[in-house]
């Protein structure tokens, strides 16, 4: 089965893709901090909002893809709206400001990751002194995610072919147990392959 890559739009070309990923990451963090500090003013938000829109346009990442992914902030907006509705503690500007901040930040984060190839992202993280072990784990996830999801998916198909009901928690739980056993066996074979290429406990 062929799954779409998480960073699938990072393989297209646009001016935003060409910006140094470290710079993009620093810009992203600065905007995040800035949005936290500045007081709530319509003008500032119109400005930052339009900059975000321009970057979105330049990046060629499809708008519908971005809109879908921004939905993850809604549950949190809901909890805050609930507070707003039931108690007089918070003012409505807190709700608006939080919503706008969150929306801008998630859009920028989508743009950041969809315009940077994952191997490049890893390089910038290592430039920013992220520990080697974390980088190794990140690259293993990136490499083996699709292989393990394939194994999991096939077990689910195999169960589905033998039933007409929704799978029980017990069945899926057992599958995850089996998946861990496969994970262990796989890690052993990967370890051998690393040994055979000179691995001595430290990845150089």
């Amino acid at each position: 089965m062929k799954h779409s890559f998480f960073d699938k739009y990072s393989y297209i070309n646009s001016p935003v893709h060409k910006i140094n990923p470290v710079l993009k990451l620093i810009l992203f963090l600065s905007i995040g901090i800035l949005l936290n500090i500045i007081p709530f003013q319509i003008v500032t938000y119109i400005l930052i909002g339009s900059v975000t829109l321009v970057i979105t346009y330049l990046s060629k990442v499809p708008l519908i893809f971005i809109l879908k992914r921004t939905l993850v902030i809604l549950p949190f907006v809901f909890v805050i709206a609930l507070t707003n509705f039931f108690s007089k503690l918070s003012e409505s500007t807190v709700l608006y400001k939080t919503f706008l901040n969150a929306y801008i930040m998630i859009t920028l984060l989508i743009l950041l990751t969809q315009t940077t190839k994952f191997p490049e992202m890893l390089k910038s993280l290592s430039y920013l002194r992220v520990p080697k072990l974390i980088l190794v784990l990140l690259s293993f996830i990136y490499r083996y995610f699709f292989i393990l999801i394939d194994e999991a998916e096939k077990m689910i198909y195999s169960a589905k072919i033998r039933t007409y009901k929704r799978l029980k928690i017990r069945t899926i739980g057992a599958m995850i147990g089996v998946l861990f056993i496969k994970t262990y066996d796989r890690s052993e074979r990967v370890y051998w392959s690393m040994l055979l290429r000179g691995f001595d406990g430290k990845i150089k």
Binding site: K2, K154, M155, Y157, S158, A159, A174, V178
Partner: protein, 235 residues
């Protein structure tokens, strides 16, 4: 009605938007042993999973005249036994017995009946000692037989084998082919493979898939045509 499986203009797109099946149509008569040939990545497994209604395709598939849909999946799947290419993908329960009884239990068959059926199936395949073992500790060929048992246990009319001989040594391969041949007269069998030899040996009719399209449909005699095989990466 003599058509066991009818596939009409079936399309399937992978999640990454590449086309896996590109308007596939064919039919399998009842009692036939039907081969789906094609190189790696031609869409064979995807097609088989669509036929069982596990993947959501566009187009129409009928099993014994009944359209495959989410509504009638209960009766349709009960009539299909599926043997995966890699047994490790198919077996997910702690013991062989639990794996084989998974299907019957889902369909509400009583425990003592299940026990009798499983004894019978295991006996026929000559693997009764495995019952309480974990399939994780069996050899590849043994696991494959357990998979066949999980497919046979509900006595379905249609059996589907995905690359049945892959990774098997010659002796185990021959043994497996014997099992399939012994089932030939009782079941409608669908086999996917990239080995023309196997198709020539047991298939009554074949289709050849290439990049998700049917490039040949008919008798297996085309598999003697070297030029055709080379063009479709089968030789």
């Amino acid at each position: 009605m003599t058509e066991a499986i009818e596939v009409k203009n079936v399309w399937y797109k992978y999640p990454n938007d590449t086309l896996a099946l590109d308007g596939v149509s064919f039919f399998v008569n009842k009692g036939e042993t039907f081969g789906i040939l094609g190189p790696n990545g031609s869409g064979k497994t995807t097609l088989l999973l669509c036929i069982c209604g596990v993947l959501k395709f566009q187009g129409e598939i009928r099993i014994f005249g009944k359209k495959v849909s989410q509504k009638n999946i209960y009766e349709l799947r009960r009539n299909i036994g599926f043997v995966f290419q890699n047994p490790d993908d198919q077996l997910f329960m702690p013991t062989v017995y639990e794996d084989i009884s998974f299907g019957p239990r889902q369909y509400g068959i009583k425990e003592n009946e299940i026990k009798a059926i499983i004894e019978d199936v295991l006996n026929k395949l000559g693997i009764e000692d495995f019952k309480n073992k974990s399939s994780h500790h069996l050899s590849f060929g043994e696991k494959k037989k357990v998979c066949i048992a999980t497919a046979l246990v509900l006595n379905p009319d249609i059996l589907i084998f995905d690359e049945p001989t892959s990774e098997l040594d010659p002796a185990s391969r021959r043994e497996l082919m014997q099992i399939i041949i012994s089932l030939k007269s009782k079941k409608t069998i669908l086999i996917s493979t990239h080995e023309p030899k196997i198709a020539k040996e047991i298939c009554d009719k074949i289709i050849v898939l290439n990049k998700g399209k049917v490039v040949y449909e008919g008798l297996p005699h085309i598999l003697n045509d070297q030029e055709f095989l080379t063009k479709n990466r089968l030789a």
